[in-house]
């Protein structure tokens, strides 16, 4: 029987994998994918808590808003990645380091 705990474990693993990708990846787009994993971990939590513990639609609606927000953020971030590629001929975040101090 699959219960709340299974979902929470999967979501925690997703969160950890997302953070791992953000920390280890050098490619700007790959970092964006890590961020999506973190946001979806939160969504899974919201829906699982809503389904198994609290009922109602609050958690489900929150998840829908977060999905929308992730799309908006991805659109802006991809535009920024393109602007960076135009200037640096690379989306490797280690090479984009003209600002230091």
């Amino acid at each position: 029987m699959i219960g709340l705990h299974h979902y929470l474990v999967v979501s925690a693993v997703l969160f950890a994998l997302g953070m791992f990708a953000i920390i280890t990846r050098k490619n700007g787009v790959a970092i964006l994918m890590g961020i999506e994993l973190v946001l979806n971990a939160a969504n899974l939590n919201f829906v699982a808590f809503s389904r198994y513990v609290w009922g109602g639609l609050t958690g489900q609606v929150f998840a829908i808003f977060v999905i929308m927000l992730a799309a908006a953020e991805a659109a802006v971030m991809l535009a920024i990645v393109i602007a960076v590629y135009d200037r640096f001929q690379s989306i490797d975040v280690d090479r984009v380091d003209s600002l230091k101090g």
């Binding site: 979501s11 969160f15 997302g18 953000i22 700007g28 970092i31 964006l32 961020i35 973190v38 946001l39 971990a41 939160a42 969504n43 939590n45 919201f46 808590f49 513990v53 609290w54 609050t58 958690g59 609606v61 929150f62 808003f65 977060v66 927000l69 908006a72 953020e73 802006v76 971030m77 920024i80 990645v81 602007a83 960076v84 135009d86 200037r87 640096f88 975040v93 984009v96 380091d97 003209s98 600002l99 230091k100 101090g101």
Partner: protein, 498 residues
């Protein structure tokens, strides 16, 4: 506290947001339709929009304290205080922009539209009373900030600033949303004002609650640029167009404090008498924030010492000031909150003023480096004197406004008893450190020899500098009206009443 569930009836209390949204769309549209003098027109429309927003915000004061849109938003003197604050700081940025060369002529319409959009986001954030609204408003501010930071995308530094900002911002938001999902799981509600009862009723595990709060704090800490979530700030402040930097160091930072106060004092504290609170479920978040505050000001000030770029130096100074303001946050009493809000007003005047001088001189001087400020006082006297006043005010030297602001913060800490004395000591030591690097700029301007040749500063900038200089000096001598306004603004909803 009255709750308005009907959406149409709620709209009557969300007029500042409606006006801002309307003008945002109108500027974008007008920019497409008209072809001549587009930049000038967009600027005029933005000023008009901000003036109307201020007007409708002031008209909301008789409405008292209410929850709108089925408890999604709160309208109270606390929220209105921040709405006026945001309109004022954005207005300064809009007014100083036409006389600068940062924004490409063809994209001025979008620039002013985005300035209104970020103001809209900040206004929503100051009113947010539900986790959903906090996430949406915070993202509205963040995404618009990424775009504004990268607005000069033809320059490598600006594009790089936008990328770094976006990555740090998105990670902070993701962590915060994950924390909120845990908070929802623990309490079963997303409404801030229902949370204390839900926590008390549910008998939540303190450790789970603490982890959730810690994750949410990442999102807010990033917005106010508190250590250790400050790494983005120096690079973004240096790379972004300077008018945008000036706005980022005041507006979104204050918005972060607004949501921080409402979140912690409404959801994670229970009133213990008039103007006093206790942390809910005995979670020691005040100590956690106190440590963040002490580390933030120390790191900000120590790194600022070595900076040679003025924007970067002011970025670290802005980080340090977030630490000072957080000192009032940990006290769990009305006096601490009062000192925070008062300091935010003073900080807005002196910090915008310092950035304004940098912006005004960037044109004639063609530099934002400290070494090029040598001998500035003999080349153009007024901006140099004004800069000295702003910097001494940031240090907190009497009789300037910054002194009064810091005095309230330290007084609140010392009156709160021995427990927070260490934080006051850290704060005072930090003020001494900050004097070193602020005075270094003044020394370069007045005592060092530089190239000769007079510099002329745009008259629009001179007027604006004077407009920020007067309150910076005046508030150090006579601050009773502002003090009364701040006191009145602290009447937050229900349990937060002072």
């Amino acid at each position: 506290m009255p709750v308005i569930t009907d959406n149409i009836a709620s709209l009557g209390y969300a007029t500042p947001e409606l006006v801002l949204a309307g003008f945002f769309l109108f500027i974008l549209l007008a920019d497409l339709v008209f072809t001549r003098n587009r930049g000038q027109m967009a600027c005029t429309l933005a000023i008009l929009g901000l003036a109307m927003t201020l007007l409708v915000t002031l008209r909301l004061y008789p409405a008292g304290e209410r929850l709108l849109f089925a408890k999604m938003m709160a309208i109270d003197p606390f929220a209105l205080f921040f709405k006026i604050f945001f309109v004022g700081s954005t207005a300064v940025i809009v007014l100083l922009s036409p006389a600068t060369a940062y924004i490409p002529r063809t994209r001025q319409g979008e620039y002013y539209a985005f300035l209104l959009a970020i103001t809209l986001g900040m206004s929503l954030l100051a009113s947010a009373a539900d986790l959903v609204m906090i996430v949406l408003a915070l993202e509205m501010v963040s995404v618009t900030s990424y775009l504004l930071a990268g607005f000069m995308k033809e320059q490598a530094a600006s594009a790089e600033a936008a990328l770094k900002y976006a990555i740090y911002g998105a990670v902070a938001t993701g962590t915060m949303v994950y924390g909120m999902s845990l908070l929802y799981g623990i309490t079963g509600t997303t409404n801030l004002y229902e949370m204390p009862q839900a926590i008390a009723r549910g008998g939540a595990a303190p450790l789970a609650l603490f982890v959730a709060v810690l994750l949410v704090l990442v999102g807010f800490g990033y917005k106010i640029a508190a250590v250790p979530f400050h790494m983005w700030a120096p690079d973004v402040y240096e790379g972004a167009p300077t008018p945008v930097t000036a706005l980022l160091s005041v507006g979104p930072k204050a918005a972060g404090f607004a949501v921080l106060i409402r979140f912690f004092y409404a959801a994670l504290a229970v009133p213990a008498g008039p103007g006093r609170w206790n942390p809910v479920a005995d979670i020691d978040w005040p100590l956690l924030v106190a440590v963040i505050s002490a580390v933030t000001m120390t790191v900000g000030n120590l790194i600022a010492i070595n900076q040679s770029n003025l924007k970067r130096l002011l970025a670290y100074s802005a980080i340090a000031h977030a630490g000072y303001i957080l000192m009032g946050f940990v006290l769990l009493n009305g006096q601490g909150l009062y000192a925070m809000l008062f300091y935010l007003i003073v900080y807005a005047f002196m910090n915008l003023g310092a950035f304004l001088v940098v912006i005004a001189l960037a044109g004639p001087l063609r530099s934002e480096e400290l070494k090029d400020y040598a001998g500035l006082a003999s080349r153009t006297a007024f901006p140099a004197v004004a800069m000295a006043v702003f910097l001494f005010s940031l240090t907190g030297i009497p009789p300037l406004a910054g002194f009064v602001g810091k005095f309230y913060l330290f007084a609140a800490l010392i009156e709160a008893g021995r427990a927070w004395l260490w934080l006051a000591v850290v704060g005072v030591l930090n003020s001494v450190i900050s004097l070193y690097y602020y005075a270094r700029i003044v020394k370069a301007m007045f005592l060092e020899k530089g190239p000769s040749g007079r510099l002329t500063v745009a008259s629009a900038h001179q007027v604006l500098i004077a407009a920020l200089l007067i309150p910076t000096v005046l508030l150090g001598i006579y601050w009773a009206p502002v003090a009364r306004f701040t006191d009145y603004s602290l009447r937050l909803l229900g349990p937060l009443a002072r």
